[in-house]
Symmetry: C2
């Protein structure tokens, strides 16, 4: 399927830093790129803005905008700048930009569009829904976790959960269905399984559209498990969890890293989680070294959990290899 002057259409689904890596790599290729972003975030600066101003969550959208931005390094730093003191403390400037634009334009969609113009983005950033939603999870022990922030911090999820849902059950943003329908390639992951990836699939109509789409679908497997969330998960568990919410196994390709991270990094990460071991041996699995070098990590991101991550160039190259053979 050919679009926009012969360019292939790639749709990336997620939210948070996982999306960032994929988008930053792909934006350097001549493709028609869209990022579909979860609207479940309610932690940190984003949570405060939702509560105090009643705006939609800007955090994940901001990260995608920065990933796709062709503006100066300075403008991109500005978007991620966090105020340190006073009433502004903890807010990232980009979140304030999106929230102020939502107030001035009267619509979050318009706000995202205008921010995209200011940042000269390549491609589109599309919120999965335009409704105010909260992510909920009912654990096997019947405890209910309320909000993405609470779920993110929980250490009990690996004991199993009965169900996850968004409240209220939201209508999908119609543009999302169009994007999925017209895509040549759809990329899901990497990213927080319960907090970034699955929340997109809980929006009315998204999983169905993915099942029906003629696009090739790629799962980019996470590198690390998160303690208390996906402890002991192997690659098959990630696949299984996504299939549970997708309704069927839609994936044509699964990208699995084979680079071993430096042992001292794994050790220093032990408090937060361990490496994802692979137990999938199928033809659709593409094994390669996807690990990012330390030199590519911006200083401000030097949290342990960000030290072991995908290399955006290597990922993009593999994804483009798939696209070129469509």
């Amino acid at each position: 399927m050919i679009h926009q002057g012969g360019r292939k259409k790639i749709v990336v689904i997620g939210g948070g830093t996982g999306n960032f890596v994929v988008l930053r790599g792909l934006k350097k290729y001549p493709v028609d790129l869209s990022a579909i972003v979860s609207m479940a975030d309610d932690g940190g600066s984003t949570g405060v803005l939702r509560d105090e101003l009643g705006v939609l969550p800007p955090g994940d959208v901001r990260q995608c905008l920065v990933a796709l931005s062709d503006s100066s390094r300075l403008l991109r730093s500005l978007m991620n700048y966090r105020f340190e003191n006073g009433g502004l403390g903890g807010h990232s400037f980009g979140n304030l930009l999106l929230s102020a634009l939502e107030k001035v334009t009267g619509s979050f969609e318009k706000a995202v569009e205008e921010a995209g113009k200011i940042l000269y983005i390549r491609g589109r950033v599309i919120p999965v829904t335009m409704h105010q939603v909260r992510l909920k999870m009912v654990l096997n022990n019947r405890k209910i976790l309320e909000g993405e922030a609470e779920i993110y911090l929980s250490q009990e999820i690996d004991q199993g959960y009965k169900t996850m849902y968004l409240e209220p059950y939201p209508k999908v943003n119609p543009r999302v269905l169009e994007e999925i329908h017209h895509a040549d390639l759809i990329v899901i992951g990497p990213g927080g399984l319960h907090t970034s990836l699955i929340p997109n699939l809980l929006v009315q109509g998204v999983s169905e559209a993915l099942r029906k789409s003629d696009a090739k679908k790629v799962l980019v497997m996470n590198l690390m498990n998160r303690k208390g969330q996906t402890t002991g998960f192997r690659t098959s568990h990630y696949l299984q969890e996504l299939v549970r919410h997708l309704g069927e196994d839609i994936f044509d390709y699964i990208l699995i890293n084979t680079d071993p991270p430096p042992p001292d990094l794994i050790a220093s990460y032990a408090e937060e989680g361990e490496l994802v071991c692979n137990d999938l041996e199928e033809e659709r699995c593409l094994f390669a070294g996807f690990l990012g070098g330390l030199s590519s990590v911006p200083k401000k991101d030097l949290l342990r959990r960000n030290l072991i991550r995908h290399d955006s160039k290597k990922l993009a190259k593999e994804l483009m290899n798939i696209v070129d053979h469509l």
Copy 2:
């Protein structure tokens, strides 16, 4: 004197809404335009940012940037948008932009430059000093007023004052001296006499540069007195006050409005001040109707004190008439 491809160089000195009117009018002409802006503001959102973040005062600079901006109406509205709730309550977005840029770039001057690029400004906005200063005023009754905000709200200034000064006594931004030196026309006013105009003259070297400059100097006379500040002032009092801080009478032209405002507006304004009456009858006085129509007042500015104000087009036309005869 000819600059930048034959364009005449106009330097506007002030701060606040007075500057806004002059700059908005002049930016439509093919002139080389600079705004020199007072750094004494310490009230409202600007005061909070100075105290909490240690940044230089963004408020007056923001207004000049918006006045000179060629960007979309939306982007200009965004700059003036004020958050209403929570920790952000009262902050205008433009102030946050300038403060975040100052933090990211490490310099207020660079911040102003970058904000100017984002807003596609015609001309330059130049802070009069790069030092953190506070405006002080010693009243005739020996009371000391500390800070521009306190001076702005005082009702005793019309009883006379002994001295005004900036603390610490600041070095001038060297670019200001260059601008004044190379100017063809220098415009002072309209604007708050003690809070927007005089603070520029209190910076080391500014008055001297103005006295030495070969440019033609124009004083745009205020329309209204402010109660407790300039009660009963006639045009000659304004001139006298500026000359007190300039060291000599530098003005080649004085623009004085002759349009009578609607009587009901004057009545509704009575709590805040009264019309400035003219007592100057000199050849350099240019009398004309400079009053802005009500239809030109943006809704958000519908405060009484903004209803009686200059028309930016009429002012600019008269100023360009002077420029064309240089």
